[in-house]
């Protein structure tokens, strides 16, 4: 089928989804033990959205994400070791420990970046697309954002301009059914948010966010459209957040009945099955054990890295004196 990932890509998607899952599981355990700092937002169950979408783009394309961005970071090719180092506040982290887990970025591979202001990634991607259009480059920009973010004013302003100017941008709405502890239907009167695309003169579509191949295809097609100069696309990926809002969430509002069907459709299971049919189950489980080893190594290295020492912000150095 047009725009499908190659077997090699599907393998890599699977690997990066597992890297993400293991990374978060270990962080989850460390958080419980009081070894992490600040809130951590896990994306267990949503890995297909962040990973497969980035895999459908080029390294030179720009991507930005939210407070819940581990799958996007790993998907775009950031190294687990430096991700962990940043989260653990080390000097070797992507931002030298200044950013933390919500604010990672690596401009050299177009990952600019995480953002803890809900909605802020949407105009950010539109601005990158504007830059691409002004410079006449062969690039696209993508924002991955939540159902909660879709209700912010900047979402509207940015999508209107993207539609108006036919900006090369992909709006990937990751509908995990929740904004914090509140279900989506308490935040918006419409269940399908992609229908709003019509109001911005751009195509809107709904996809199964737990199927990495479906995510890849939709993003690849939107990216081709954008590169042909036909403008923006809004893609709503339906998925589910398996792990509570953050490590400080006291839980209790996601029922077992609600979660059970999603557990069965865990994107890693879905991917393992599809990939198994192509390369055999043994090869699939090898990917998992390799990823396991890689993540363990990433933590080992990152945790032995040094903490940064304080320096004044250089650009404002002249007026940043204690």
């Amino acid at each position: 089928m047009k725009n499908s990932p190659s077997v090699e890509e599907q393998r890599e998607i699977h690997r990066r989804m597992i890297l993400t899952r293991r990374l978060e599981e270990i962080l989850g355990v460390m958080a419980k033990e009081g070894k992490t700092r600040g809130p951590l937002h896990r994306c267990d169950g949503q890995e297909a959205v962040g990973v497969a979408s980035c895999m459908a783009l080029n390294t030179s394309d720009y991507v930005c994400t939210t407070h819940r961005g581990h799958h996007v970071y790993v998907g775009k090719g950031m190294e687990p070791r430096r991700i962990v180092a940043e989260i653990m506040g080390r000097e070797t982290g992507y931002c030298g420990g200044r950013g933390g887990h919500m604010l990672l970025g690596d401009a050299s591979i177009g990952m600019i970046g995480g953002n803890a202001i809900v909605g802020a990634g949407i105009p950010a991607a539109a601005g990158m697309a504007l830059s691409i259009q002004v410079l006449k480059q062969d690039r696209v920009a993508m924002a991955v954002f939540g159902d909660g973010a879709a209700q912010t004013g900047i979402a509207h302003e940015a999508m209107n301009m993207a539609g108006l100017w036919k900006l090369p941008v992909i709006f990937l709405l990751e509908n995990n059914q929740y904004g914090l502890t509140v279900r989506q239907e308490v935040q918006s009167p419409v269940e399908d948010l992609f229908i709003r695309a019509a109001g911005y003169g751009m195509p809107g579509l709904k996809i199964d966010g737990n199927d990495a191949v479906a995510v890849y295809r939709a993003v690849a097609e939107a990216s081709e459209r954008a590169r042909r100069g036909e403008g923006a696309t809004l893609i709503e990926a339906k998925t589910y957040r398996m792990q509570g809002f953050s490590t400080s969430d006291m839980g209790g509002y996601q029922s077992d009945e609600e979660m059970a069907p999603w557990r069965e459709r865990d994107p890693i299971l879905v991917s393992a099955k599809a990939l198994g049919a192509l390369i055999g189950d043994k090869a699939v489980s090898d990917i998992a054990s390799e990823a396991e080893t890689d993540i363990q190594a990433a933590f080992d290295l990152a945790l032995s890295d040094p903490f940064p020492t304080f320096e004044f912000h250089r650009p404002s150095g002249a007026y940043a004196e204690i």
Binding site: G89, R98, I117, Q151, L180, V182, S188, Y253, F307, F310
Partner: protein
């Protein structure tokens, strides 16, 4: 008197005022069923229903504008903005709506709304979730800004704020919610807005502080006492309008001043305190006012970095020693 956590004191104030006046209602993100990220509104949706305690979409800009107009049309809205870092999204509603219409339509409308939010750093929430943006708010005419530190003040000032006819921004701090203290009983125990609180009298230097910095100032006073320096600590409580009388009286006694605020230094709230003191107390001062505030840079995440920027007792004590040197 009852012993309560700061968050519980706020909860009690909300419950009492909601019971007392059916025109009071609350809205904000996650405040309903979940009871708020800091659990300040726990149980209130159950008690007062979904119309008067609403979970909202993530729409700070419109929410604030709606608080303004709802307040002009017969209700007393209480809006919770989850982090003070999101105040920039509320600015148009405050600067171009609340401030403007309160003046232009004076006599025609009142504007009794409360915007509760919490700021401050210290727990690794990073550059977008740890700021104190007090000076953006205190710069706006026609809006009161308060920041209680004790549970008793939290309760008494929130009740006063809800009953006030003008917009009141109510600044909390994420590190205060679990602090405990005695809170007077009684539904009409109000703490007036606009009055500072003398935390600790002293003869040598006056330390004027806001929000969690009051606690740091108290700790600094203890350190200073060991060196024989007797510091007076004043909790301003209301950032605007300022209790100028208390400031003047204190400086007339001590002749030395340190001002402390967790916001950025340049054009920050501490700058106003310093300028106000210059305006009104220049002749009483034996040394320039020392400002203790956040260095002018975003708040870093990593523990050693964050610890290096947030003003603390040591920096306050050092500033006090400097003005006395």
């Amino acid at each position: 008197m009852a012993m309560m956590r700061y968050a519980e004191a706020l909860n009690a104030a909300l419950r009492e005022e909601m019971s007392r006046d059916p025109s009071v209602f609350m809205f904000g993100e996650d405040i309903g069923r979940y009871g708020g990220v800091f659990k300040v509104s726990r149980g209130l949706m159950e008690e007062f229903g979904e119309s008067r305690v609403r979970d909202t979409p993530i729409s700070e800009q419109a929410l604030t504008a709606m608080a303004v107009s709802a307040a002009m049309t017969g209700t007393r809205p209480i809006l919770e903005i989850m982090y003070a870092d999101f105040i920039p999204l509320c600015m148009d509603a405050l600067v171009n709506q609340a401030s403007v219409f309160g003046y232009l339509w004076e006599g025609q409308v009142e504007m009794p709304f409360v915007l509760r939010t919490q700021g401050g750093g210290g727990v690794g929430t990073g550059a977008q979730h740890a700021k104190s943006l007090d000076s953006f708010l205190t710069h706006i005419p026609g809006i009161k800004v308060v920041a209680p530190v004790t549970p008793a003040d939290a309760k008494g000032m929130l009740k006063s704020a809800i009953r006030d006819a003008q917009p009141v921004i109510f600044l909390e701090h994420k590190l205060l919610y679990n602090m405990r203290g005695e809170v007077p009983d009684g539904e009409d125990e109000l703490v007036p807005l606009g009055k500072a609180r003398l935390v600790r009298p002293g003869r040598d230097v006056s330390i004027f502080a806001t929000s969690k910095m009051v606690i740091e100032a108290e700790a600094a006073a203890v350190q200073l006492a060991k060196d024989g320096i007797d510091a007076e600590v004043i909790d301003l409580r209301t950032l605007r309008p300022l209790d100028l009388a208390s400031i003047k009286a204190s400086i007339a006694r001590t002749h030395h001043a340190v001002v402390v605020n967790e916001g950025w230094t340049f054009c920050g709230y501490a700058a106003e305190l310093s300028a106000t003191i210059m305006d009104h107390c220049f002749d009483d001062l034996d040394a320039p006012v020392a400002r203790v505030a956040m260095p002018d840079m975003p708040i870093p995440y990593s523990e050693p970095l964050e610890a290096a920027v947030i003003p603390n007792a040591a920096r306050i004590a050092e500033a006090a020693r400097r003005v006395l040197a």
